[in-house]
Amino acid sequence: MEGALLRRSEDIQRGRQLRIFFNTEEVECYEGETVAAALLASGRQVLRRTARRGEPRGVFCGMGVCFDCLVQIDGRSNRQACLTTVKDGMQVETRAADGSWGSQR
């Protein structure tokens, strides 16, 4: 999916453009967006892999209840992507099935 197509363009003027890092990839986003919104807008639905079955997970409740969107942010593990606001240069890392951070495997 093309990221640009998932941002609404009508009726809105966004904040300052920023970039964050998703594992090693650069992601363009806007000040005020949550990490979850920024990643979804760039077409990234998978935010981690589970420990037991190695299954992909993404945004589910979107409001901080389900803890499915846990990522590592600037070295701090298990942060909720849906409740964290992006900061310029922020390093977002995914949890792999083997428990390591920073890869999608």
Binding site: F60, G64, C66
Partner: protein, 478 residues
């Protein structure tokens, strides 16, 4: 210590309404919320720095939200708003442990108002953990607040009027909404029309949502239920089928649609964990979404100086939440001596009258959307039912059949509810399954056990509370 007359947890319609009512009576309050801005989920705003064009669509609900937030902002000198804060614990019924990104601190509340709101009920079904399956609320937040589309081709499913709101919102945002799947059968919905017409304003709002979907050519499949979501890394297909009055599907008549996103939710569950931590007497109220603290009409719980307002005290929507918040605010204002008895009674009467006018409408909706047994049968043996611990239904059933019939015993035996969500996602559906499987009542099966920290905190974080200066937003002395 805070000088506030009350600490309010939650800045949705109920919490804002409590704070505004108290501030208008001249009293100081402190409001704590997880989000950076006030509004809660229903009145969630775009982030600071985003500017909406004046032409942006507004309906009566969003105008109500704008009005409530404007009053909240205008009374800012009396309302200390602590955004981006999570309450991770509650001690001695009114001592709150409040965390932000920098650390945490204790806030002693002279009076505590819990206005935590509700979250969506999604019973497990095959494929419900696949990325692209999300709650209607999540999709709405993305589209309305973040101005990001949850996907390109979306199916909206579950039950309740909120589905119509979200389907409209997504359609307006430019998403291809391929349909709405609603469990309630057409004949049951038709029978509810007289009850719904008891409130013409709300009924016509619902009618407008329906008509707009019809004009957009979006089909509404009443009397249908989702069977499963398919796809490896992302949802690719969703199957649904006609269901009976108990919402049991006729699998032989399943329909498949190709979508990249499934928004699914079957009503709302009150967030009860803080009321439980405060030691409030809890009661099971099926028609109001689950376990709620027992309260008086003015929101007093069984614990001295602890109040509840809004969906957290029983799901009834934003308008009821706002009125309940006013009642709690007036009650506290009287307690604090800020208004006299005559003023209290006069204002109270008016709010109670408005709440009564909503009663028949609310009861009709509650009856329509009450959870039916078919929903607890959608999962198969190998469906993950505990999203955190990845337990399958058969693994939990083994525990149940071995004699575990409460949350606590199942948690010990199977790890159900042991993960970071602490049973909030799995237990509402699994409690129903345990009740059906063992022939016990929901009261006997019971509710989740809650203990702090109620959000994940590392030992390091717990050991090092930050200084008051870094965590308070400034303003009132500490």
């Amino acid at each position: 210590m805070t000088e506030s007359s009350a600490v309010i947890v939650g800045a949705g319609p109920a919490g804002i309404s409590v704070a505004v009512t108290l501030a208008e009576c001249g009293l100081q309050t402190t409001v704590v919320d997880e989000n950076p801005l006030a509004g809660g989920q229903v009145f969630r705003q775009p982030p600071a720095g985003f500017q909406r064009a004046a032409s942006a669509v507004s309906d009566s609900a969003s105008r109500r939200g704008d009005e409530l937030r404007r009053r909240f902002a205008n009374l800012g000198d009396r309302i200390e708003f602590l955004g981006n804060r999570k309450v991770w614990g509650l001690f001695d019924s009114r001592r709150l442990a409040v965390a932000n990104a920098a650390g945490w601190r204790m806030i002693q509340a002279e009076r505590l108002v819990l206005a935590p709101g509700a979250y969506e009920f999604v019973p497990p079904f095959p494929g419900w953990t696949t990325p692209g399956v999300m709650t209607p609320g999540a999709a709405q937040l993305l589209a309305k607040s973040m101005h990001v589309l949850p996907g390109k081709r979306v199916l909206v499913a579950g039950t309740g009027p909120f589905l119509l709101v979200v389907a409209n919102c997504l359609h307006d945002a430019g998403v291809r909404v391929v349909g709405v799947v609603e469990c309630t059968t057409r004949s049951e919905a038709l029978k509810a029309i007289p009850g719904l017409l008891s409130n013409l304003a709300l009924a016509s709002q619902g009618w407008r949502y329906l008509r707009r979907l019809r004009r957009a050519g979006i089909p509404i499949h009443t009397g249908h239920v989702i069977l499963d979501a398919q796809g490896q890394e992302q949802v690719e297909r969703v199957r649904f089928a006609p269901c009976d009055a108990d919402w049991r599907p006729d699998r032989s008549r399943a329909v498949t649609v190709e979508v990249d996103t499934l928004c699914v939710g079957y009503g709302f569950i009150p967030r009860s964990e803080l009321a439980q931590l405060a030691g409030c007497d809890m009661r099971w109220a099926d028609e109001l979404g689950g376990w709620i603290p027992a309260t008086s009409e003015d929101g007093e719980t069984s614990v001295n100086a602890v109040y509840v307002a809004g969906d957290g005290g029983g799901v009834a929507g934003a308008l009821v939440a706002e009125y309940q918040g006013t009642l709690v605010g007036l009650h506290i204002a009287r307690q604090a001596g800020a208004i006299d008895e005559a003023t209290l009674q006069a204002r109270r009467r008016e709010v109670v009258r408005r709440l009564k006018k909503l009663r028949r409408f609310r009861r009709t909706l509650d009856k329509l959307s009450r959870v039916r047994p078919g929903l607890t049968e959608l999962a198969t043996d190998d469906t993950v039912v505990c999203r955190c611990e990845e337990l399958t239904r058969s693994e939990v059933d083994i525990g149940v059949d071995a004699g575990c019939a409460t949350y606590r015993s199942l948690k010990v035996a199977t790890r159900l509810g042991m993960g970071p969500c602490q049973g909030r996602m799995c237990w509402p559906a699994m409690a129903r399954r345990v009740a059906l499987r063992t022939g016990r009542s929901m009261e006997q099966v019971g509710l989740i056990s809650v203990r702090p920290p109620i959000v994940p905190m590392s030992v390091g974080e717990l050991a090092e509370p930050e200084s008051a200066e870094t965590i308070r937003s400034g303003g009132s002395a500490t």
